[in-house]
Amino acid sequence: MDTVKTLRVPPELLRAIRHRARRERLDESTVIRQMIALGAREYALRLYQDGTITLGEAADLADLPVREMLEALWDRGVRGNVTAGQEREAIGNVLRLAGPAVPRRRRRS
């Protein structure tokens, strides 16, 4: 259920709201809701990029399905957030399971 909130809008933000409302022939309330949603998505992207939240949490914050959140991240150039240390640890885990190395072979023709 929607919640009614009262908020003060500074003049510079109101200019942007009115600009979009005029340009897209929308009422100001709709534009405010859209802009808050855009801000929420941006916030989720940033937190995911920093590794502060998981993909699932980011999707929840942005109100997107997980699959679409992943696309939104790639569209914004966020390729992933795994750190060098995490990758080294993951490689160590895989190699412990894989056992001794097998001599390298040539590329299949």
Binding site: T54, R79, V82, I91, R108
Partner: protein, 162 residues
């Protein structure tokens, strides 16, 4: 394997090689996020995953209930595919949880759950001789638009070091 890892190995065509060497298990929530949401959004990889499951290449496994991980899942407020992947591990018989999500990897490390990334799996395939160095490097390039620069650099240097 969690949702982002499954989508990445599908898009980079690494999944087929992985499935030949490993038993890939998907939790129901991961299936929902990859296949149901993917098909609803018109993503072709969702159809490829569905086809793999139909051919028995991937397996959907229902986590045991209650999983020994339930308390951690609740405390860490994990939901969706991440929570279900951890439940599946808690059920036993799983060697590694695969994810490219930094926050989830931190949770796994805190819980002492062995984890792998998509690119680390690639290194395992190269090390065991299932992929040549050239093939592994080509697969890493396919993954590169979807993984962080740090992940790519570490994986590349591990591959080149043999």
């Amino acid at each position: 394997m969690d949702t982002d890892a499954l989508i990445k190995v599908t898009k980079s065509s690494l999944k087929e090689t992985l499935c030949r060497e490993h038993d890939l298990l998907l939790a129901p929530a991961v299936w929902k996020e990859c296949v149901d949401q993917g098909k609803a959004g018109g993503h072709a990889d969702a159809l490829r995953i569905e086809e793999n499951a139909e051919r028995g290449v991937l397996r959907i496994a229902t986590p045991s209930s209650p999983s020994r991980m339930e308390r951690a899942i609740e405390t860490l407020r994990m939901v969706g595919g991440e929570a279900d992947a951890l439940r599946l591990f808690g059920g036993g018989g799983v060697d590694l949880v695969v994810s490219d999500d930094s926050r989830f990897l931190r949770f796994l490390a805190d819980l002492q759950v062995p984890a792998a990334t998509t690119s680390a799996l690639l290194i395992g395939l190269a090390r065991s001789g299932r992929l040549s160095l050239a093939e592994a490097l080509a697969k890493l390039e396919d993954l590169s638009p979807m993984i962080s620069e740090a992940q790519y650099r570490e994986a590349r240097s591990a591959l080149e070091a043999g």
